[in-house]
Structure formats: C-alpha cells, structure tokens
Symmetry: C2
Subunit: 488 residues, 2 copies
Amino acid sequence: MESSNLRAVLVKALRKSIPLHCILSDAEDTRPYECDSLSTYKQLPLVVVLPEDEMQILAILKVCRELQVPIVPRGAGTGLSGGATPIENGLVLSTAKLNKILEVNAYARSARVQPGVRNLAISDAAISFGLYYAPDPSSQLACSIGGNLAENAGGVHCLKYGLTVHNVLRARVVTIDGDILELGSEALDAPGLDLLGLFIGSEGMLGIVTEITVKLIPKPQTAQVIVASFSDVEQAGNAVAQVIAQGIIPSGLEMMDQTSVRMVEPFVHAGYDVNAAAILLCEADGNTEEVADEISRMCAVLEKAGASSLKLSMNEAERTKLWSGRKNAFPAAGRMSPDYYCVDGTIPRKHLAQVLRSITEMERQYAMICANVFHAGDGNLHPLILFDANDPGAFEKAEAFGAEILALCVALGGTITGEHGVGIEKLNSMCLQFNAAELACFMAVKEAFDPHKLLNPTKGIPSLNRCAEFGRMHVQNGRLNFPELPRF
Amino acid sequence: MESSNLRAVLVKALRKSIPLHCILSDAEDTRPYECDSLSTYKQLPLVVVLPEDEMQILAILKVCRELQVPIVPRGAGTGLSGGATPIENGLVLSTAKLNKILEVNAYARSARVQPGVRNLAISDAAISFGLYYAPDPSSQLACSIGGNLAENAGGVHCLKYGLTVHNVLRARVVTIDGDILELGSEALDAPGLDLLGLFIGSEGMLGIVTEITVKLIPKPQTAQVIVASFSDVEQAGNAVAQVIAQGIIPSGLEMMDQTSVRMVEPFVHAGYDVNAAAILLCEADGNTEEVADEISRMCAVLEKAGASSLKLSMNEAERTKLWSGRKNAFPAAGRMSPDYYCVDGTIPRKHLAQVLRSITEMERQYAMICANVFHAGDGNLHPLILFDANDPGAFEKAEAFGAEILALCVALGGTITGEHGVGIEKLNSMCLQFNAAELACFMAVKEAFDPHKLLNPTKGIPSLNRCAEFGRMHVQNGRLNFPELPRF
C-alpha cells in the first residue's frame, strides 16, 4: 500500500477508539517527531499518536497488529542513540500525555507514576517527604521516566545509587498481543523469571510500559565536592582507581580532560584549573560525620596519587558552582562547535589513562577535536567529538571516530554503551561486542514478546546479515580497520 | 525406551567424552541426589554427571539433546523449593567438581569463580584484601554460588547489600544448543537485553552457568546490634516500618515471634527475652561514627515505638552471641520438632503485624505450631511450620498451611517467594501470583532459550492446565478455599 493510502487507513482505524486531538498525521504536525536527540537521523513517521490512557494504548496496538504497522514508542525524545527515531511507514506512540504522578508513598518509599512523567518531576513530588529519585541523567529536567526505563538511564550519581534498573520496583506493561503484565514487586525479589530486569533497557522492543513504580531514597543530609587538578593524565586515571580501591564509594567521581576544561571554563566560570592535564570531581554525601570522613580520606588518596592542587566546596553554593562546569559540558561543546557527537562506552577503570592516550592518537588520525568527560568512577566514557555538519562527510567521519572508540572499549574488556543504549546508533558496534549465538539469543527473546516484529523493529539488535556485512566492510575499509578484537 | 535401557544408552553416549569417575548410574551412587533440601520430594535420577570443565558440560548437553533426556542442574543441594529435585528418566548435572576460584581482583573488586564454589569460600579468598561477598543465605557454609545464582539467593544482610542479582557482574553460560554466552559486564550497564538479570533466579531453566564474576565489597569497619523486646506484636511490626521511614537502612532488621524465641533460647542461650511477644534484631555496620549515629537513631525510634527493653552488643563477641539465636532458628526448629516446613513469602512491611495475627489464626485452624522468623526489614517472611512426617497426612497439611500463607502474601500485595525460588514447591502458588498472559510470557522466554524443553522442565513455571486444575480444586476444597484474591 502506498504511504498516503496506508496513512488514511491507519487514521480511520485509530479514530474508532482514539480521540481526534490525540492523532497527528499532517507532515506539519509530525515533523517535531522526525528524530530524537540523535538528530542526524531523521524520518517522518506515518502517524503520531498520543494516547491518554492504557485502554487507548491497547487499541493502538490492536490496530497496528491488524495492519502490520511498526510502532516506535517515544518518551521525551531526549535519547542519544536513536531509540525513538521513526521507522518509515511506522507509527510513533508518544507517552507525552501520560504524565500523572499517581501516588507518592513515603511509607513504602516509592512513587507510582505514568511513563510520561519527567524524571525531575518525581523528585519534586517527593521532596516534601525528604525523599528523591536517584538516577539523574543530564537531561533530567526534560527526559521521561518511561524513556529512562527504555534506555536504563544513568547519571552522575549512579556510581553510588545505581542505574534505572536498580531504582525501579515494578512496571505495568502492555504486550503487542494486548495482554497486561505486572512485572517486579515491591519486595527485593519477585517470583518467576526477572522480566522487569529484562524490560529495563529493552528500548521499546518488548512492550509498552503504562505504569512504573520507582524507589525513592532519603535526601542525604549534606554533600561536599573536591576538585583535584593533575598535571598528568595517567596520574588522574590512577587516582580514580585508588579512590575506589580504598573502599570509598563517592556519590560522584567525574573526570574531565584539558580540552573539556578549557571548553567549559570560559562559559561557566566554575573555577577549574585550565592548566591541568585533567581534573577530577569527587563528591561525598551522607550525614556530616560520614562526609567529613570520606572527604578527608579522598583528599589523602588524591594527594598521594599526585594531585597538583585540591579545591573543596565549603557550602552548598560552592558545591553547585564546582559542579556547574561538569554539568554544562554538553552545552559548552554546543557553544564551541556547530555540532558534537557524544560517544558512550565503558572500560575497566584501570584503563582510563590508556584510553585517553588512544583517543588523543585518534584525534590526530581523524583531524578532529575530542573533549573527554568521563563518569570515571564507573568507567563510563563520554568523549564529545566536535564537528561541523555542514562540512560534507564530517558527520560520517565523527561517527567512524566514535565507532573506533567503542571498538577500543570492547578490546579493553569494556562495553559499547554505559547508559545511552544501542538504538540505531550502535548496531554495528553490537557486532563487535557479541557473537552470533548471543545475538540470536537476544532476537529469540525479542520474538518471544513480539512475534510479529512490530515493536521498534530494526533497533537494538543487529541482524546476523548486518554483522556479516559489517565484518566484510571492516576488513576492506581502512578507516574502520579495527585491530583484531579479543573476546572478553 | 525402558529406564534401564535408556540408562545404558545414555551412559554409553556420555562415556565418549566424560571420564568414568564423573558418571554415577548405580542406585547406590545416585541415591544422595534423589532430593535437595525440600526432602519430602524424592526421585532417583537416571544418571548423575559431575563434569570437570566446560567442554564436558557441552558434551553432556549434546548427548541429552540427541537422546531428548531432561537435565536437572544441581549446586550443593541446599535449595528449599525443589529446584534440584530429579526428574524421572532425567539426568542430574552436578557442579560439585567445578569448584575453583579463578581470580580475586582487589583492584576491580571482583572475583571470577566456577559455579560449584561455596558462597563462604569466596569471602574467605577475599578476606586478605579486606573484601567479602555480601549475600549470606543461612546455608552459606555449604551452598554454591551457582545455586545462589539459580535461586537469586538472599540472606540476613540483603536489606542493605542486595540479593544475588545485585552482586553478580557477569556470567558465562552454555545453552542447550551448545552456544556459549557471555552475559553482563564489569561496568554498571551492559549493552543489549539484560540477559544476566534474566538468568539470575531462572532456576536452571535457561542454560548452564560455567563461570561467574561476583562483586566484592569492603568489610565494614565495625558493626553493632540492638535486640529490642516488644510486649505487643503490632508494636514490633510498626517499629520496623518506623526504622525504615527514618531513612535508616540497617545492615540487618530481623523479627522473631515468641514461639521462635522460646524455641531457640534454651538451645542457644543468646540472651533473648522469652516473655516478649516479639523481638527485633537491628544491626548497623560501617565506620565507627556511622554505626554510633545509626544505633542511637534506631534506639530512639524503637523506644518511641514502645520497646519494653533494648539490649546492645558492646563488642564483637556479644554481637555474635545476639545473632546466634536468629542464625540457629532452623536447627532449633529441627531440635524441637521431628520435621518443619520453611515458608518463604514477602509482604509490604506495613502488614507485618496483620500477617502474624492471620498466621496465629491459621495455627488454630490447622492445629499446627508455626514459629515466625522474618527478614522484617524487607518484608520477607519465613514461617516455620512444625510437623511430624510420620503422622499420615501431616506433611500435606503443613504444605496446605504454607500455601495459605503465600496466598495471604499475594492478597496483601506481596509475593510467593522472597529468596527460595519456585522450584516444584510453589507451582500452584504461581497460579495465584500471575495471570495467564504473564505465565505464557515466562514460558515463551523459556522456550526462546530451550526449545527442546530439556532444561529443568516442570519447574518454576506452572502450565496453564495446572493452574486451571488448581483453580477448580481451590473452589471445591474447603482447606484451600482462599479468599478471592485482589490483583495487585
């Protein structure tokens, strides 16, 4: 069927159960949905639907099942790996209208919310009880909890407080066949297979989440941050490992290289040392005694590791200021360069310095600048590759650069995503990370939930054909000529 | 094929790749494997194999696939839900010989071990680095890490440190089709679907684990425990909720009722108040300041909640003594009664007192004694139903009593297992917990991994037929006449 015909048929079928104001089908209306925050990939969806309740979601899935129309679920569109990039002749199911906080239970320390609720709105609702929701992706002002669940989002504090998967207790899910599943429990364990764990991070490929119960935790009494300067990147990398080896779990342990410090400092005036080769931000939170104890132990470790200077926040305003540089690294990149490409991979902490050296080498090779901002404590890298999308081929080059960093992560025993997901962005990198049997397993699990292959197909899991193709390309093409990668 | 013929064919096929000393087939040799710690269910396996490496496991799976022989994986046999109960004409695959600690990495705070390694042996190997493996099921001296993974085992400290699923980083798995999967990563997140989370707690239904990387954490500097007596069960239950509501996460928060206190005290002389209606054990661990702060806050909460007396450990010997009563509750039950049946369910903490009242009512109804030992902090109940297996029908009555407690857990918004798994024990209770769509989903995921239905079949997931049967029985039979259960 032609697109315009299919659109008409689809809208007509949807209209039987969905109010008109919840269906967008004119290009003018669907344009804002043509991409998520991986904005180099664009595709106009056939139709966008914004259901107002679970019944409407069931109706949408039924229509799509009958007409065999693929569905792309979408939260706030802040994802960085293209999980919400529309599919040609597909429908986008936006959770934007499902934005109610249904319950905040201070007693059980949990909140029950709809998937479209913004991450920060949960903490706002819990603040009067002295509670908050811990995972804090940089987009937390805008991103939705449903999207967080789909991508297993993290944030600066996840070293101590965990990713989304560690902070979600239950989810209510609608399957493509119209069944309703209640996954997880308010207890630590749940009987049966851990389908909640499976759903978290499944990038919309297994079902549509209609209700989420998250864990709330008490606001720490106080927090303090150290900014440590290092004249040598190697020393900074080793300092991270030494803090962790001391048995300290900082509430944040971030690393910025000189490029990123010099990028943010003129913009934010956080007071960072622009002559340092790298800086570390080390935060402790808890009660006063705990924080004082951890801070003094961290200062000792950092000094011993060769820090050239240490700066401590003496009050909440100073703490906020010292964090502002790190928190504004992405906007600063946007200010310094017309475009930037944010890479997301992980490595064992001990290889931090080695990765920075290799990235410097790649900068020369690709003739591109890369600013490095790392969640160093958990070995999660966010290199920001600067480029100008108006230069022909520049994005492709940046993408190849990013892919090479991810290949290096795999070679060092790390992974190709720390918190941004696979989406469409990292399908080729998945071929490096996993063998054919592992990918076949992913696909079999997906098909157990979605035998019709309608839920966000072509995302998350590369086909074995694609991997074979990628393998050939990677041998022929000099640019993608990664070293032989050992299996971890 | 007859059993004896099938056994001969199976042994002959196994002998091609497995050394003779690793195969047990005489009834005399296989007898010790006829049950796990749910010892009321017994079945002689056709053959027991104790492979020495992964290659041998692959060979065993290949033979079983070709001959269509079901496989029951077995760790140390300490499981309480019958996960390792043999299947008629099935093979038992014991991991007992896979007992090597391959690596302790103090730097990465992890240990890589084979599945047959005992839980406590990991901490023993890590102690010289000041590290340990946190989950501590009561069987930790004997139970294996592979079995812990299969059942998602917990323990007294899991309120603060999590269950097995929170403490395993990676697993290497062999599938029934002979593929090798590497699941999880040393980073917080792993790309692709979270198959590691799915495997943990899957009771041997999805594959055979051949290598496990666990998280190690620093030994806390110190720990202190409070034993609080209450003259009223309701007050004790509410005190638990109030401790948690204060933002304290104790390293242990256990509750024992009068029956269990009076059961253990003459045996262990822990110094418990035998006149209390219930006692709580509340522990804090960490550095000296943290512990002092938490203990004083907990004392204040407990006093305010109506504790009739508080006893504090003043040194490590006293702490061990105060815990000894709780830790010996199961042996004490074994001393007081020829047999006991340990139930495992969870409820929201706020219902603790109500559940104790209902169990008292059921004791009258069933004319059986039940001693209650709860991981109260996380709402995990372990009622111990005392009976004498020599009395005809006594076990069946105890089982029905246990099932009724689990039905109550579901009715109160809790679950039918906290840490012991489903196995064969709780197949009927699964029908109360989940609807048909949810059970079908479990089965579809199982079949994605095990299309031949050879891996621990008939465990973990009830068939829809069985649930229909159970539903009918539950209406007809007075004893199982549970109240209409609301869906949570």
